[in-house]
């Protein structure tokens, strides 16, 4: 998807006499094609994270912690030091790294099942300790990697392979609003929910990610960006339908907003 990058575009206009590169692979991404499904939000989010790392000039002092989930192979794409965490434990692994290397920048990259089900405890306590890490929380309302089972963030009525008649809250639980919960934790500094379904949403996500890294660079506390992300494959939709579903349906349960900002 060609994004309308403002800086790149004006550069292009200014340098019209010479051929200028206006869209290139971020340094923090390896030259490896993504394995993600067509229309998957993970690819866009990877690129945004890499761009932000480049822009902040922190590639050589960043350590990433990918999850168990569709993004488990993120280390094949990010050209920074990467440590794979057990399912749900990214915040704890990141804590261990950051405590030993407080001058480095540590980010986790986690799905909704990873961060809001099996890893809820690790996440809440990392936030509450004001752990100086940046969490990238990719909410696609399902367990993508394992084949589309119900996730903590599956919305009421949503059909998944383990909620075949739709999610029924008093049987399956309500969709969990982890970001709001983390906002209550005194150690969290900045929490925003964005989406990557429109150019504007993508730019907002990029900005939010940059801020979430800067909060860490300024040693302020825990920062998290929750990104609503299409999973056409498990939603059984076309990429275009999936984008529309995020905008029209998913955002009703998970409204896009700054949840906390005391940075």
């Amino acid at each position: 998807m060609p994004f309308p990058y403002r800086t790149g575009f004006t550069q292009f206009l200014r340098g019209a006499s010479k051929v200028k590169k206006v869209f290139t692979r971020p340094m923090s991404l390896k030259d490896t094609p993504f394995h993600y499904c067509p229309g998957c939000g993970h690819s866009i989010i990877h690129r945004l994270v890499a761009e932000v790392i480049d822009e902040l000039g922190i590639r050589e002092k960043t350590i990433g912690v990918p999850p168990a989930g569709c993004a488990v192979l993120a280390y094949n794409y990010f050209d920074v030091d990467m440590a794979e965490a057990p399912h749900g434990r990214a915040a704890a692994v990141a804590t261990g790294i950051k405590r030993v290397l407080p001058d480095k920048l540590v980010f986790t990259y986690q799905g909704d099942g990873d961060i809001a089900a099996i890893g809820t405890a690790e996440t809440i306590h990392a936030a509450n300790r004001g752990e100086r890490i940046t969490a990238v929380f990719v909410n696609n309302a399902v367990y993508g990697m394992t084949g589309g089972q119900m996730a903590p963030t599956t919305i009421t009525g949503q059909v998944t392979t383990t909620s075949p008649g739709g999610r029924v809250p008093l049987r399956d639980g309500y969709p969990l609003d982890l970001s709001e919960m983390l906002g209550i934790a005194a150690g969290s500094v900045y929490i925003e929910r964005t989406s990557v379904t429109t150019p504007k949403g993508i730019m907002k996500t990029r900005k939010a990610l940059k801020k979430a890294f800067m909060v860490q660079m300024e040693d302020k506390g825990f920062a998290l960006v929750e990104i609503l992300s299409p999973c056409p494959t498990n939603w059984k939709m076309s990429p275009a339908q999936a984008v529309r579903w995020v905008d029209e349906v998913m955002t009703k349960t998970f409204p896009l907003k700054v949840i906390k900002d005391v940075a």
């Binding site: 590639r59 050589e60 002092k61 960043t62 350590i63 912690v65 168990a68 488990v72 192979l73 280390y75 990010f78 050209d79 920074v80 030091d81 990467m82 440590a83 794979e84 965490a85 057990p86 434990r89 704890a92 692994v93 990141a94 804590t95 261990g96 790294i97 950051k98 405590r99 030993v100 290397l101 480095k104 920048l105 405890a121 690790e122 306590h125």
Partner: protein, 374 residues
């Protein structure tokens, strides 16, 4: 702290860890080992750059250990039985990722919540896996305060040398007991050679990955065989044991840790009564010292395995003995601590019956069964 000092086991372990260059500790409170994290917290509070963190669970703490190890630190966690169960996930990952770490288990009565009394019910868990997958953990079993100090130093060295998790397996009694100890000279972590797997940002080098997922089955198989080759080297290099009064012995008691100290008391009493009884004490539980025990089994007639459990190490003893002599088991599980007199009675009973048929009869009230014979 030069010369001999009198300290309890948990504090000995903490001091020895710090002297081994340990600068990161993550844990969660559980009796009977709380004096160890408390020692680390107090000491690290005074040390620049040292990390003490009380985690929200054992699950979190072992994963913090993973992170600290990835970041290059000599790192330790400690717990007691129920907490060690929670750590098993992380231990499997540490083994798979070939990350050094030291894990202390001060065993208590179990299963379940059990109690807080000293026990040895976690032998299987420690030596036969515990977590999922094909892996081993080096398991060191100190019995004396001085050994706690020496083995803790060794544990950190082995963890780094072999890039593998190492467990120190003790029990609540050992943790509480005050004993005189001489510590080795402290090491300066700044003097350690740089580890080539550490993630500290890819400045001036290609980026690195620490992982345990190998979707390509050939690569996962390769990892498994690489681990096996490493385990073979460890099995050659580190098995260790104490053999005591065995030269003329006809009966040998096999025990480790606190049980071995009690058993030694039993041996002394039996010797006073003129009975030729000795002791075999494994100091490494994995790798188990099969070879020396095998050699011993050729010249003695009966082995009594004494454990503070219902019988776990006895299976390794039988593997070593392979039917060359009788093997019986005497166990006091559930946190009960046997007395040396009690063990002396058991050993003397076996000794007296040597010429009256094989095996030994049950001593009233306790499990005492013959679990294998030639």
């Amino acid at each position: 702290m030069a010369g001999k000092v009198l300290m309890r086991g948990t504090h000995v372990l903490g001091e020895a860890a710090i002297r081994a260059g340990c600068r990161a500790y993550f844990g969660y409170p559980i009796t009977p080992q709380n004096e160890l994290p408390e020692y680390m917290a107090a000491a690290f509070a005074k040390m620049e750059g040292a990390v003490f963190l009380q985690a929200e669970s054992e699950l979190a703490s072992i994963n913090m250990v993973m992170g600290a190890s990835i970041a290059g630190a000599r790192v330790m966690t400690s717990s007691s039985s129920p907490g060690i169960s929670l750590k098993q996930e992380g231990i499997s990952y540490l083994a798979a990722m070939e990350l050094p770490a030291v894990i202390v288990n001060m065993m208590r009565g179990g299963p379940g919540l059990g109690n807080i009394a000293p026990s040895q019910g976690d032998y299987f868990q420690a030596t036969k896996g515990g977590g999922h997958g094909d892996y081993r953990v080096i398991v060191l079993a100190p019995a004396y305060g001085q050994e706690i100090a020496d083995m803790t130093r060794a544990a950190f060295d082995m963890a780094d040398k072999y890039r593998t998790p190492v467990m120190i397996l003790g029990d609540g009694m050992m943790g509480q007991m005050m004993e005189p100890v001489v510590f080795p000279e402290p090491l300066d972590p700044a003097s350690f050679p740089k580890k080539d797997f550490v993630l500290d940002g890819c400045q001036g080098r290609p980026s690195r990955i620490v992982r345990s997922l190998w979707l390509d089955t050939n690569l996962e198989e390769e990892l498994n065989w690489r681990l096996v080759r490493k385990y073979e080297i460890i099995t050659e290099e580190i098995p260790d044991e104490e053999i005591y009064l065995a030269d003329d012995a006809e009966v040998i008691v096999v025990a480790y840790g606190t049980a071995a100290r009690i058993a030694k008391g039993g041996v002394h009493r039996a010797r006073e009564a003129g009975q030729k009884i000795g002791l075999f004490r494994p100091k490494t539980l994995w790798p188990f010292p099969y070879e020396p025990l095998k050699r011993l089994s050729r010249k003695i007639r009966h082995m009594v395995v004494f454990e503070m459990s219902t019988g776990q190490m006895v299976e390794d003893v039988r593997l070593a003995v392979e039917g060359r002599c009788d093997v019986s088991f005497y166990g006091r599980p559930g946190g009960v601590v046997a007395t040396p007199e009690e063990i002396a009675r058991v050993l003397s009973g076996v000794y007296r019956r040597l010429d009256h048929g094989r095996g030994a009869a049950a001593e009233s009230g306790h499990t005492f069964r013959s679990v294998g014979s030639a």
